[in-house]
């Protein structure tokens, strides 16, 4: 049998080692997470890219455009809708606000339909049905010297 004195010593050492190990595991976990976290996160900035000529804007309804752009030595393409809704001209992103599939304009039903999960938007990009929580994103548009520019975050 251990004397109470030895018992104390043993309990102290046990607790000491336990706390030490928990501390070590905690520190290692933090260090690992910091290491795995990306150190270079480039901020996306709004840049305007030439899309089409002003005279090619739709007189009525929806026109789909594919915009190929190049920024920071990286090329990409972007699909957008140019819309003339009774004289009001604006641009909508084709990226569904639910999970990022690309929506299509359905002329027959007069709405944007997402093929993935059945999200539906009207011509203004407002939600009609389906899982999306936000309307389609409006893309900043500039018309200068007869040319249409769209603002993308790249």
């Amino acid at each position: 049998m251990a004397t109470p004195d030895q018992q104390n010593r043993r309990t102290f050492l046990k607790t000491f080692i336990k706390i030490g190990l928990i501390f070590l595991a905690f520190i290692s976990g933090i260090i690992s997470l910091v290491f795995l976290y990306p150190s270079e996160i480039r901020k996306r900035e709004l840049k305007f890219f030439y899309a089409i000529k002003e005279e090619d804007l739709p007189r009525r309804g929806v026109k789909r455009i594919e915009l190929a752009y190049e920024s920071n030595q990286k090329a990409g393409s972007f699909r957008a809708f140019l819309i003339n809704n009774g004289g009001k001209i604006f641009a909508l992103s084709s990226v569904c606000s639910h999970l990022g599939c690309l929506v299509e304009w359905s002329r027959n039903n007069n709405m944007f339909a997402c093929p993935c999960h059945g999200g539906k938007y009207d011509i203004e990009g407002r939600i009609i049905a389906g899982p999306p929580a936000f309307p389609l994103e409006r893309i900043p548009m500039k018309i200068r010297n007869g040319k249409v520019y769209l603002g993308l975050k790249v």
Partner: protein, 215 residues
């Protein structure tokens, strides 16, 4: 243990099956040199974890290997620290595993019934050196390249099968990107896997046979 641990232990039952491991009697005449094996194991665990972290940045390709190591050193958060931990722990592992071997040898702890454990330990020693050798190539700089050229050249001196073995190890007549990928595979998959098996056998036998009571 705390409540969370008790919840797991009461279901997993690991406490009961390992009671013999956690509460075993050890001979009275052990000293601090008996810690060398445990130290080697701690170093091995540290290498395993720091290696897993490094592997999430390292690219085992002829063109990108060196750049990815530079990226770990200069760009990744605490990359310098993690790589230094991996490098220095590898050196410490070599040291402690060698001293452990010497201790066991000096204590004649390899005698029956512990011969098989000595053999498992010897394989672990060789495997840790092999891990060190394969890991040395991975930074893919001049030192690593020439160390591997010279090191693998030794294989060719084996009579009869030397040249074929050299081709097998290098994946070609010269040290190339194929060698790099080969060594990467050995370093991160084959060797740790075999090492885990060997260590499990090593510890199992220590548990069954107990620590040698010395001379």
């Amino acid at each position: 243990m705390g409540k969370a641990f008790d919840w797991i232990y009461s279901r997993f039952g690991i406490k009961e099956s390992h009671k013999g491991l956690l509460k075993r009697t050890i001979p009275g005449n052990v000293n601090y040199s008996y810690c060398l094996g445990g130290m080697a194991f701690i170093f091995y665990c540290t290498l395993l974890i720091s290696g897993m972290l490094l592997s999430s940045y390292y690219i085992p390709s002829e063109k990108e290997a060196f750049q990815s190591v530079v990226r770990i050193m200069r760009v990744a958060n605490l990359g310098l620290l993690i790589r230094a931990i991996h490098k220095w722990t590898a050196n410490l592992l070599m040291l402690s595993i060698l001293l452990h071997t010497l201790r066991v040898f000096a204590n004649k702890a390899y005698r029956p019934p512990r011969e098989l454990n000595w053999i498992a330990g010897a394989f672990t020693l060789v495997l840790s050196f092999a891990s060190g050798f394969t890991g040395y190539l991975l930074p893919w700089d001049q030192k690593a390249y020439w160390a591997t050229v010279v090191g693998t050249n030794m294989i060719a001196t084996i009579p009869l099968i030397g040249n074929s073995l050299l081709l097998l190890v290098r994946g070609g007549p010269e040290v190339t990107g194929f060698t790099l990928v080969r060594f990467y595979s050995l370093h991160v998959i084959w060797f740790p896997l075999l090492m885990n098996l060997l260590l499990w056998a090593h510890f199992h036998m220590i548990r069954k046979q107990g620590i040698s009571g010395g001379l």
